[in-house]
């Protein structure tokens, strides 16, 4: 680790001010990506702004049609939440499969979504549920949020406060974990909003994305076999030592089918 200034701001405003004024500052949420990166000296921020003590960034609130989760809420908290399990069980299930117990105890929703790792789990739910990302400045629709590999619509100092997940009629998440890291090689989140479907995919491409053709097909007929009727373009899919783009395309199909089956059978 290189030396840096460490800050513990006590408000969102103070955090943003620090981020704006410092030469090369970075927010620390759960640190599950940032801390290993710092320890390997792969990043050298001038300032690290720890959000752990900032009030108003944690907690789960369920409203009539949506679940609002604070950005600093830990994965373990979401996984264990009875409210989330009741409103959107697929979301609690997704959180319970992130990394391992240590990661879930430290990692946060906001950290994961802000980082937009191509193989993180949460982005599949953000896309698949059509969530809204609430920042200190604005509301960003999921479809406008993920831009590319580790790239989002967030401006430099912009801070995610919470994420609002619309409550679907039913939903399911199916993940193929990387055997080494347990990140998603591919994860597919399918949600049914009363006959209108959304399908969010993580792991396969540079960032999470929807499969519009499958959504349309499912809206006509809810059947896992619909996956066989669509094309999965994999030209831009990730390809690495764990999975080629072609194999990832297969996994998108298989995970989509399994998610649809799980959604149907509950």
């Amino acid at each position: 680790m290189y030396t840096f200034e460490y800050h513990q701001p006590d408000s969102i405003e103070a955090a943003i001010e620090l981020r704006t004024e410092a030469e090369d500052a970075i927010y620390l949420a759960g640190g599950q990506t940032l801390i290993p990166t710092l320890k390997q000296r792969l990043a050298a921020p001038s300032d690290v702004i720890d959000l752990a003590g900032v009030p108003g960034l944690t907690g789960i609130k369920v409203e009539k049609d949506r679940v609002i989760i604070g950005a600093m809420t830990r994965h373990a908290h979401v996984a264990a939440s009875a409210e989330v399990a009741k409103a959107i069980p697929a979301l609690a299930h997704l959180a319970s499969e992130i990394g391992d117990a240590q990661v879930r105890n430290r990692g946060t929703l906001g950290g994961s979504v802000a980082n937009s790792d191509p193989s993180a789990d949460y982005p599949a739910a953000v896309i698949g549920l059509g969530a809204t990302i609430q920042t200190n400045r604005r509301s960003i629709a999921a479809d406008d949020y993920f831009k590319d590999l580790f790239e989002t619509a967030l401006a430099a100092s912009e801070l995610i406060k919470s994420i609002e997940f619309p409550i679907p009629k039913r939903a399911a998440y199916c993940k193929f974990p990387n055997p080494a890291s347990r990140y998603a090689v591919v994860g597919v989140f399918v949600a049914d909003f009363g006959g209108k479907f959304r399908v969010g995919v993580t792991g396969a491409g540079p960032c999470a994305f929807r499969i519009g053709a499958l959504e349309a097909a499912l809206s006509k007929k809810l059947d896992p076999a619909q996956v066989d009727n669509i094309e999965i373009e994999y030209d831009r899919f990730n390809s690495d030592l764990h999975a080629s783009a072609e194999y990832r395309a297969n996994l998108v199909r298989v995970m989509a089918k399994r998610a649809i089956t799980a959604l149907i059978t509950g």
């Binding site: 000296r41 080494a180 030592l241 298989v254």
Partner: protein
């Protein structure tokens, strides 16, 4: 028999400190005025070092010194030697590329150290290392094993990168066998490169006392005396009597801590150079890059059978990756620990094996849990299973037809070894029963109904433990003896301190050795303390590797204990005024058959140190040493059976059950043995399905962290079914064979036989990753 004696599952006494965080590992140890070392490492697989400019580092606060390979060379430090001379077919010696502790002119693998920065703190050493400016001239590198002999020459004295072209067996007889064959089975496959991943990384705390000229090197070694010998006799760091090496608690090694490495050597040298203690602990990235890797073979194997499925001959041609330099025992692993095992459990009358040991610009490859025997077992058990499938014979039946029968021992194989004992049919039968082999078809049908593919695979392995005997091994090129030393020091009050040249890095010697000595002396288990891992306290030792500790080190202790008892009898005879030949020693007491007199072990021990009523011709004291040089290897063997289910949609292999029936001879502590078997199986399943050290075509290690190198975890494993059969070793006093490597030796072939059985294909390369399995099913 007491509940702590031989054969009892005594809880490991060392575990209390290990599991409560009170172990004392090298990195836990600090010396006054200590400095920290960070190594300068090559970012290239092969490059010329044009210049090293340390001036930037000198300006970093806290940096004490920057040294390079030239500084060590100027001090006339010798190369790191390879301890086993292998000769090529034509009788010529293997070709050894120079291996200075720190690279001087050329670096030959990514991560190779060429310099060291020493500073007051670890952070300052890191900062210093980052600002050392090194100019490299990149050279063509040889990375691929397949094309290594037609690629850039790494060492000036090694044409075609061929270290040796070794062979064993009777080529003519094997050719003749193939001419008579009714059936031929041929397989070509690889044995994947593995990275050891001991839980504790390598570390060293070195100090030097200028007034006595003594070095004190505390380090993560499986064999501190051997390290001392090499650092003295070959590297010429210091004479042996001025060099103390201590290996305190060591957190796993799997072979990787047998070897003498650049970093520990350099730390010791630097401690003298700067006149202050030097500490170095590898980080996990360094462990991946520089701990000696394992396996990495390319093999073509052919099995000739007659019309009845009887094996006539086996022909094997292997190319083994040795990495950029010959590590301490690298040359012996794909030769004497591999070719000699190719008879397996079978009566194959003619065997011929050729091995090309080649250099590549990758980390050195050396012994890793099993060391040559897993590779040999993989060859035999994959080809035997394949032959059975081709012939339409049950694989268990084909094996049974070819087993060396129990009445044929001692059995001389065509590849040098003489097996002393075994009963291969017994372990096969027991394993088949445990695995419910006969009802497999029902389970397969059930899997098919769920859209899954199920397979079952056998592996009837043999291994050779406790390399021996010394004279033969030395004739065959070994640079050291293969005996072990032990000392049983009876204290005046009758408790015992045991010194062993074996070294525990997780195996539980403190418990097992205390069991055998206390059992033999009839004294409480608690009254025996075991000391190991310190050249300053233990007379000599060759350390722990090759599952040798109990069979060789334990036998030395038995021998020393026998001497203690023999001397005790003389003392007791005198004290009881009875003839020596009338004295018995049982259950901790000396008794005279000629009277009803009895003396406890403690009373005799006390008399030895307070010799009032004592034989005049006998030295006082009761402490005996022994060296035990085994007559032969021991030959554990057994049958492992894996049952797997494959998800054809994703290619995921689920190991549903794993049965291991092993013949380890007599077992001292069944719980410890079972733990050793579990660990070995986990690593064997890891090799088959998960683990793979991969260099890309540019020579970079792309599996250099746990994000990419897949270590086996508990949820990758089924609950193992472990059982034993017993044919006691015929030539050591305990009748024991060794259990540390069996799991890693037997498991890969069992799993891969099951995977290929499930898929209905001839081969899938290890590790059978989901994508590989998925492609195999698609025929692509």
């Amino acid at each position: 028999m007491s509940d702590t004696g031989i054969g009892k599952s005594v809880k490991r006494r060392e575990d209390l400190r290990f599991i409560t965080g009170r172990g004392r590992y090298t990195d836990d140890i600090n010396q006054p005025n200590q400095t920290f070392a960070v190594f300068l490492r090559s970012p290239y697989p092969r490059a010329r070092i044009v210049s090293v400019d340390p001036s930037g580092a000198a300006e970093v606060e806290g940096v004490v010194g920057v040294f390079t390979g030239k500084d060590l060379a100027a001090d006339k430090l010798g190369d790191l030697p390879c301890g086993w001379l292998v000769k090529s077919k034509d009788g010529s010696d293997m070709k050894v590329g120079p291996h200075p502790p720190l690279a001087v002119d050329v670096v030959n693998y990514v991560g190779e150290p060429y310099g060291v920065v020493i500073a007051e703190t670890l952070a300052a050493a890191r900062d210093g290392a980052e600002v050392v400016v090194t100019e490299f001239e990149e050279l063509d590198a040889t990375v691929s094993l397949a094309s290594a002999m037609d690629s850039a020459q790494i060492h000036a004295n090694v044409p075609r990168n061929l270290c040796y072209d070794w062979a064993l067996g009777d080529a003519a007889a094997t050719d003749a066998a193939f001419e008579r064959a009714a059936h031929l089975t041929t397989l070509e496959f690889s044995n994947n490169r593995l990275i050891p991943n001991a839980m504790e990384p390598r570390a060293a705390v070195a100090s030097y006392d200028a007034s006595t000229e003594e070095f004190n090197l505390i380090t993560t070694s499986q064999n501190p005396h051997l390290e001392r010998l090499i650092l003295s006799a070959f590297v010429q760091l210091a004479p042996e009597h001025k060099l103390r090496i201590t290996a305190p608690d060591v957190g796993g090694g799997f072979g990787s801590k047998i070897f003498v490495y650049p970093e520990e050597t350099t730390a010791a040298w630097a401690a003298r150079r700067i006149g202050r203690p030097v500490k170095w602990t590898a980080d996990r990235s360094e462990s991946f890059l520089t701990d000696a890797h394992g396996r990495d073979h390319l093999t073509k194997a052919e099995l000739a059978l007659d019309k009845d499925g009887v094996f006539l001959g086996l022909r094997v041609k292997t190319r083994a990756n040795l990495g950029a330099y010959l590590s301490t025992f690298a040359s012996s692993v794909p030769t004497f620990l591999y070719g000699t095992l190719l008879a397996g459990q079978y009566r194959t009358p003619a065997i011929y094996v050729e091995v090309e040991g080649v250099y590549t610009n990758t980390a050195p490859v050396d012994a890793y849990r099993g060391a040559g025997r897993p590779e040999a077992t993989y060859v035999i058990e994959r080809i035997v299973e394949t032959a059975a499938r081709e012939l339409g014979v049950d694989p268990a039946e084909l094996r049974r037809r070819n087993f060396i029968p129990p009445d044929a021992f001692p059995y001389q194989t065509p590849v040098a070894l003489e097996y002393d004992t075994g009963n291969y049919g017994a372990s096969l039968d027991k394993a088949l029963a445990q695995a419910q082999y006969s009802s497999f078809a029902d389970r397969r049908a059930a899997s098919e109904r769920r859209g899954k593919k199920r397979g079952i695979g056998l592996s009837c392995y043999i291994e050779a433990c406790g390399l021996a005997p010394s004279q033969l091994a030395i004739q065959l090129g070994a640079g050291v003896g293969l005996y072990e030393s032990g000392e049983v020091r009876v204290n005046p009050t009758g408790n015992v301190t045991v010194f062993t040249g074996s070294h525990s890095h997780g195996q539980g010697h403190e418990t097992t050795f205390a069991q055998i000595v206390s059992d033999k002396l009839g004294i409480p288990f608690e009254n025996v303390e075991v000391v190991h891992g310190d050249t300053g306290r233990v007379e000599f030792g060759l350390g722990t590797y090759g599952s040798r500790s109990l069979a060789v080190g334990g036998s030395a202790l038995i021998k020393a204990t026998d001497k203690v008892i023999a001397k005790g009898k003389r003392i007791a005879a005198h004290m009881m005024d009875a003839p020596l030949d009338s004295i018995d020693f049982t259950e901790g007491a000396f008794s005279a058959r000629t009277s009803n007199q009895k003396l406890t072990f403690g009373e005799v021990a006390f008399a030895a140190y307070v010799p009032s009523n004592y034989p005049t011709d006998l030295e006082p004291g009761l402490s005996e040493k022994a060296f035990y040089d085994p007559k032969n290897f021991t030959f554990p063997a057994g049958t492992h059976i894996a049952e797997v289910e494959v998800d054809p949609e994703t290619g995921v292999v689920d190991v549903l059950s794993f049965v291991a029936v092993d013949d380890f001879g007599h077992v001292i502590n069944p719980m410890i043995v079972e733990g050793q078997v579990h660990g070995g199986i986990a690593q064997g399943i890891g090799q088959a399905l998960l683990e793979h050290g991969i260099y890309d075509e540019t020579g970079q290690l792309i599996t250099g962290s746990y994000m990419d190198y897949c270590m086996p975890r508990a949820d990758d494993m089924p609950s193992f079914i472990v059982d034993t059969t017993v044919t006691p070793c015929t030539h050591n006093p305990l009748g024991v064979k060794g259990c540390g490597e069996a799991g890693a030796i037997g498991a890969p072939a069992a799993v891969m036989n099951a995977v290929t059985h499930a898929l209905g294909v001839v081969d899938v390369a290890m590790p059978a990753t989901p994508e590989r399995v998925w492609r195999a099913l698609r025929g692509a």
